[in-house]
Symmetry: C2
Subunit: 303 residues, 2 copies
Amino acid sequence: MAQVSYDFFQLRFFIAVAEELNFRRAAARLNMTQPPLSRQIKLLEDRIGLTLFDRSNRSVRLTPAGESFLKSATDLMQRAEYAVLTARQAERGEVGNVVMGFVPSASLHFVPQIASALKRSMPGVKFEPIEMMSYEIAEGLQSGKLDLGLTRSATHAQEVENILLVREPFVLVLPRDHALCAVANLRVEDLHGVDFVGYSSERGGFLKDIHRALFATVGVTPDTVQEVSQTQTIVSLVNAGLGVGLVPRSASAMQMENVLFRPVAAPKEFNSTLYLNIAPNRGTPLNEKVRATILGALQPRSA
Amino acid sequence: MAQVSYDFFQLRFFIAVAEELNFRRAAARLNMTQPPLSRQIKLLEDRIGLTLFDRSNRSVRLTPAGESFLKSATDLMQRAEYAVLTARQAERGEVGNVVMGFVPSASLHFVPQIASALKRSMPGVKFEPIEMMSYEIAEGLQSGKLDLGLTRSATHAQEVENILLVREPFVLVLPRDHALCAVANLRVEDLHGVDFVGYSSERGGFLKDIHRALFATVGVTPDTVQEVSQTQTIVSLVNAGLGVGLVPRSASAMQMENVLFRPVAAPKEFNSTLYLNIAPNRGTPLNEKVRATILGALQPRSA
DNA sequence: TTGAAATGATACACTTCCTGTATCAAGCGT
DNA sequence: ACGCTTGATACAGGAAGTGTATCATTTCAA
């Protein structure tokens, strides 16, 4: 490509002549004299291999090719100006793309919250959230395909910054007709021997590890009837009556016919966490603004 | 407008550097040496007031503004090339706009035929037919608002070329239950004393004049119960049973429940005519092609 | 019919500015 | 620590654009 043989200033000359249809007046408007203008127009015609003006018997008129080229020329000039303005906005971080990978359990509450916060305070920024597995997020952040990540555990990739966004307790999700619904002040001990729908270790398995540690601490062994990888699936299976589950509190946004969410007393170290991962190319105004907006929207505690 | 301070060749330089991210390689690709390239890039940055590259610690990287400007720059280059190609097409008459005014009676048969012929053989041309009165067509052709006209009589405006496209006989349009339906080989004389729906003199009145001359020649006076300006209206009123009418044969394309069309013997000089009017700015390839296409589609006789 | 004014094209000298060569300062790899 | 590579700088040469002067042609008016 790039076989453009003419130049912007020639376009400006051409537009002036096309609008005035008079070389002298056009030259005056361009703060120059007529001969160089004539020469440049002829040069432009030579370069693009087209006759733009009909200079017959004293009157200057546009040829059909000239009319077409005039439209294109004015369009090009506008776009050329606009290019600078857009670049200025990009420099200030007002426009751009932000691609964020997030784990499925963040899709219910946090992703919508972040998306609306960004849309509100940075309308020129195109925000693209993509649901993916945590190891894919780590890869994407390092390869540069992702600008941000939202994971349950910190991403240990080099140069990736991790910010603890949220620390939320687990809540018990159980069918409406379950015996435990009647129990006030639920404790983890109450789950002993109960049918349980838990996390599999398939995708990172971070939440499964927390559960295992929590149960070990209290000395409880629930009867795990099913292991799945996504929080949404747990709630669905509980809704179907397969057993009870233990999910991050934000999952209670997922209301279903046959499920209830109940708090469970448990030590803070067994809370579920949510981290914002920031790609290594940080420091740009866009990234700074996006980061500040997300932190402001989710009121984080310090990492 | 037109405050574009940079030039196309600088865009080419910028794109090369942005793609290579190395001044020397980019210079080689551009068949030049490195120092002028560095200088032009710096000049470009000065002109647009933006830092496009991060030249820190030996590696060249695009700034956010640079990324944005790179997109715009490649887009501009493509459009700049495309502008020339489009102008070439315009020069050959392959693209452009053709605005044609036409009288209402041409809308049934001829306008669709012309439109489809143009669409078939000149797909890049935008054809815009506008229904208007004949005097408006004459005005439009002279003022340059119209490229073509379609009228029943030649347009006597200066420099306007008239081509006789069609010479068609009048046919009798009459209600299905009318007494004349039974008559074989209808003649004009048969209309004596019959209820007649004719043309008014409101819009040019050319067709009314032909009728009057025709009736005078044969010595017949129909009983004119209604005068209207449009052929379509005549057919509608006949369909409603108000009387019979005499309309150009092409109007028989307008089928209605309660009407029949019948040929009427009449001398050729009383045929209805249809003229193609060509605006004074003729001679362009586009106009020539459009003219040839229309003539080919309607198989005209010589004017 | 004729002369004055205006139009775009051409010729040539001047100036501008872009290019290439030579060179420099700074950072990376060995 | 040395050499290689990177982009930036200085300067001379040359290409190219500009302005002044002028021409040929056409239009308008007297």
